[in-house]
Amino acid sequence: MTDPLMDTDAAAPPPDPVTQELLTFQCGGQSYAVDIMSVREIRSWSEPTPMPHAPPYMRGMVNLRGSVLPVMDLAERLGQARTEDNPRNVIIVIQEDRRVHGLLVEAVSDIVHPTLEQLQEVPNLEAEGATQLAERLFVVEDTMIQVLSTERVLPVVAGSAGAGLA
């Protein structure tokens, strides 16, 4: 299988919270993190081809070495303002099961190894859509970082792609 969207080698070991590695990045002025095991690569910004009948946070598709990669604006997905076009924006390519998605963010920051004690539960805040996407929180140098669940970040296929416009 040479589809660059699919990485069959990445048989991710079961996440071990003690040694979990996280990639942190900036998005909509806030800090977030995703499990580094789900990150396939980081790409520089290229103009996506818009998709019709898609939710507004879906920026469209870009060419990832011959495959079509969907790109979503993570800030907009998190309920914030649309990310401003900037050539310094980057696309984090994440893989969740068989699906590969690009997340448009402002900048990648660091790789961190929080210990189990550092990771906090997400406080239950009246089920705001945006908070649902984070599964843990932790603090590094006075900055709160939200660890996102890749599973929850990705849109539901077929259901949401055309929903609301049909």
Binding site: R65, G66, V68, L69
Partner: protein, 700 residues
């Protein structure tokens, strides 16, 4: 891999090609396309298999191929006429040969097929007048045979003692870098040569073009090895063969000075080998010991590698366009070396992209050809007279799809012959010709490839199907079903109408397996049966893996691709007759009738309509007519290009996107959507009423 294993693998790949050539040749003969080329092609295929098999010590294969070859030789020299019975025997023999090759490849033993039928064909041949198995240098396959002299050559097959070679270069010979002197030196290695230059028809000095070869040569070769074959002599000229007229004549020992062929040494017995007269290489280039390459050699490549190549070329194109932009920014002179070289590079990349794209696509011809054997075997097993008619063999689909269609098609064809076609008696009673027809066709229909298997048999016996389904509890007894619904019952798992499962199409699988295989390819299968007139099964496959002829258009700020097959007509906006209907709607005349006019970007859901002011002379109208709606027109800002694009499915990552059938990556690396006109029609409510819906795919 062990080097020998690699050679072995090559041999079997070649065998597959040769078997294909063999079958194609026999089928051509069966169809009455009789010619020496066809017969020779068939003969060479068997001969090459025999030669290669000899090198690998595959005794059973060699023996049978030899019998086959001997019988074919009868056809070649004219002792046998290519009448249907004879060809039928040969076709069966080719199946047997294919089985033997498969067994040899798998390393399993099969019972050696009985060559009696072949022997009976050609009573004139006693099996020894050809070459003994494996004793001859193989022509199609590389390993050199070493004749240890263990098998004594029959008297009549003894090679001549000298060869007369008439060599006449064509004008292009020198231009291609060939040099007659080198050819003569190579000949000299084989034995003593006497070269005579024929300078009879030289032009005058003023008319002489020094780049054109004008001389001809006659060479008398007395080989140092007595068993030199014509093939070996010809192989010296291998690289020049298309560029010269070559005549190689065997010469007897006593006739060394005469220009006529030597008389046979054993006049009373017809001995074809030494009497085979001159051959003109230029007219029959496939005679030169390269039979495989001459009929379109192929190699088998891991599909992953091809995909990688496709993707890499995509990357190359992007890097190149970035380079071009960078150079434009650097303000280089238009005539500078860098700019012109880049233009050459762009041309090369385009060619490369086209070539790479064409690798994956494959005509269905080879698949259809494999079905001829299935038809033959099924016809034999059921004692029915069946003719296979194929149509649209040039239709291209993705290689993977071609391969994965073989099993479902096999099953469908067996079903058509076993269940569809009537017994000969019943056909006569129904006033049909004795020979049943199974038709296999392929065509591209908008964004699908449709493959149909149809027969002219009795059609589906709906009463029996319903009875069986009720018995099996698949349908509640009191339920009344539409005929179409009854037909669909065939696709239910475990359904079989034959009272007892027949040896042929039974095999424990039903149409449900076929349906699953087609669904795995993201295809649909539908059935259309007319009682007494036959049944048609249509497989419709998406182009997810395939290549699409598309029209690249610009609309709004997007470039999009429309399947060429969907477009019935294009007009410029200026030339079209557009009328307003109400406040926002527009219609346009297509062949005297008004059809709806939509803006493509807007219809796709990309928001605002371009204000009227932006319409210019580039603005074009594309008329489309999806299967399930009336015609309508799409207005685009410009038509940019018409070209083949590779279809990238959106499946896993996007789910279904309305109005979009897939995406593709354009030459500059940008992703473009492939428009689904039918989806637009559905979105805009242009679909015909429910009652007019054409037959839809089975959804059990």
């Amino acid at each position: 891999m062990d080097p020998l294993d690699a050679i072995r693998a090559t041999f079997f790949e070649e065998c597959a090609e040769l078997l294909e050539t063999l079958e194609a040749g026999l089928l051509a003969l069966q169809a009455g396309e009789v010619g020496p080329d066809t017969v020779d092609g068939v003969f060479r295929a068997v001969h090459s298999i025999k030669g290669g098999a000899g090198a690998f010590d595959l005794a059973a294969l060699v023996t049978y191929a030899h019998e086959f070859e001997t019988a074919l030789d009868g056809l070649r020299v004219g002792r046998l006429a290519p009448d249907p019975d004879v060809i039928a025997v040969f076709l069966r023999a080719s199946d047997a040969l294919a089985d033997l090759v498969a067994a040899a490849q798998a390393g399993t033993d099969v019972a050696a097929p009985d060559p009696a039928e072949l022997r009976a064909l050609d009573t004139g041949a006693d099996g020894t007048d050809g070459h003994p198995p494996g004793a001859e240098a193989t022509t199609g396959f590389a390993p050199v045979m070493i004749d240890l002299g263990l098998v004594p050559e029959p008297e009549s097959a003894r090679p001549p003692e000298a060869w007369e070679i008439l060599f006449e270069p064509l004008p292009d010979l020198l231009a291609s870098g060939n040099e007659p002197l080198f050819l003569f030196r190579a000949l000299e290695v084989l034995g003593r040569i006497e070269v005579e230059c024929l300078d009879g028809d030289l032009p005058t000095l003023t008319a002489m073009d020094p780049r054109v070869a004008r001389l001809r040569w006659r060479i008398l070769l007395t080989p140092s090895a007595t068993d030199l074959t014509e093939t070996e002599v010809e192989s010296i000229f291998e690289f020049a063969v298309d560029l010269c007229v070559l005549q190689i004549t065997p010469r007897g020992p006593l006739a060394a000075d005469a220009l006529t062929p030597a008389p046979s040494e054993t006049p009373p017995k017809p001995a074809p080998t030494p009497l085979r007269p001159t051959r003109t290489a230029a007219s029959v280039p496939t005679e030169t010991g390269r039979p495989v390459s001459a009929v379109g050699a192929t190699i088998r490549v891991d599909l992953g590698r091809v995909d990688r190549l496709v993707n890499l070329v995509g990357e190359l194109v992007i890097s190149q366009s970035m380079l071009a932009q960078g150079m434009a920014r650097a303000g280089l002179d238009q005539h500078s070396e860098a700019v012109t070289t880049l233009e050459e590079l762009q041309q090369l990349t385009r060619d490369m992209q086209d070539s790479v794209m064409s690798i994956r696509a494959q005509p269905v011809k080879s698949l259809f050809q494999r079905m001829t054997r299935i038809v033959r075997e099924a016809a034999q097993a059921t004692a029915k007279d069946v003719r296979l008619v194929t149509d649209g063999e040039a239709t291209e689909i993705d290689k993977t799809v071609v391969e994965r269609l073989a099993d479902p098609l096999t099953h469908m064809i067996r079903n058509a012959i076993d269940h569809g076609l009537e017994e000969p008696g019943a056909r006569a009673a129904a006033g049909k010709p004795a020979t049943g027809i199974v038709r296999l066709s392929a065509r591209q229909q908008s964004d699908r490839v449709v493959i149909e298997v149809s027969d002219d048999g009795r059609g589906i016996d709906r009463a029996r199907v319903l009875k069986r389904a009720t018995e099996r509890g698949l349908v509640p007894p009191d339920r009344s079903l539409e005929p179409v619904e009854i037909d669909r019952l065939l696709f239910l798992p475990g359904f079989s109408t034959s009272a007892e499962v027949s040896a042929l199409s039974g095999r424990g699988v039903g149409m449900d397996v076929v349906q699953r295989a087609i669904r795995d390819l993201n295809g649909t299968i539908s059935i259309n049966s007319v009682e007494g007139a036959g049944c048609t099964l249509s497989i419709s496959l998406p182009l997810t893996l395939a290549i699409l002829d598309g029209m690249i258009v610009r609309s709004g700020r997007q470039r999009m691709v429309l399947p060429l097959s969907a477009i019935v007509e294009t007009q410029t906006l200026a030339a079209a007759r557009v009328e307003r209907l109400g406040a926002a709607k527009r219609v346009v005349a297509l062949q005297g009738r008004f059809v709806p006019l939509l803006d493509l970007a807007e219809a796709m859901g990309f928001g605002t309509v371009a204000p009227d002011g932006t319409e210019d002379e580039d603005t074009a109208l594309l008329f489309v007519e999806p299967d399930d709606s009336g015609p309508f027109a799409l207005c685009v800002d410009a038509i940019e290009a018409q070209r083949q694009v590779v279809i990238k499915g959106l499946g896993d990552n996007f789910g279904h996107v309305p109005c979009v059938s897939a995406a593709t990556i354009l030459g500059d690396g940008q992703v473009a959507l492939i428009v689904d006109p039918s989806g637009i029609a559905a979105m805009r409510g242009l679909h015909r009423g429910q009652g007019a819906q054409p037959k839809e795919a089975i959804a059990v």
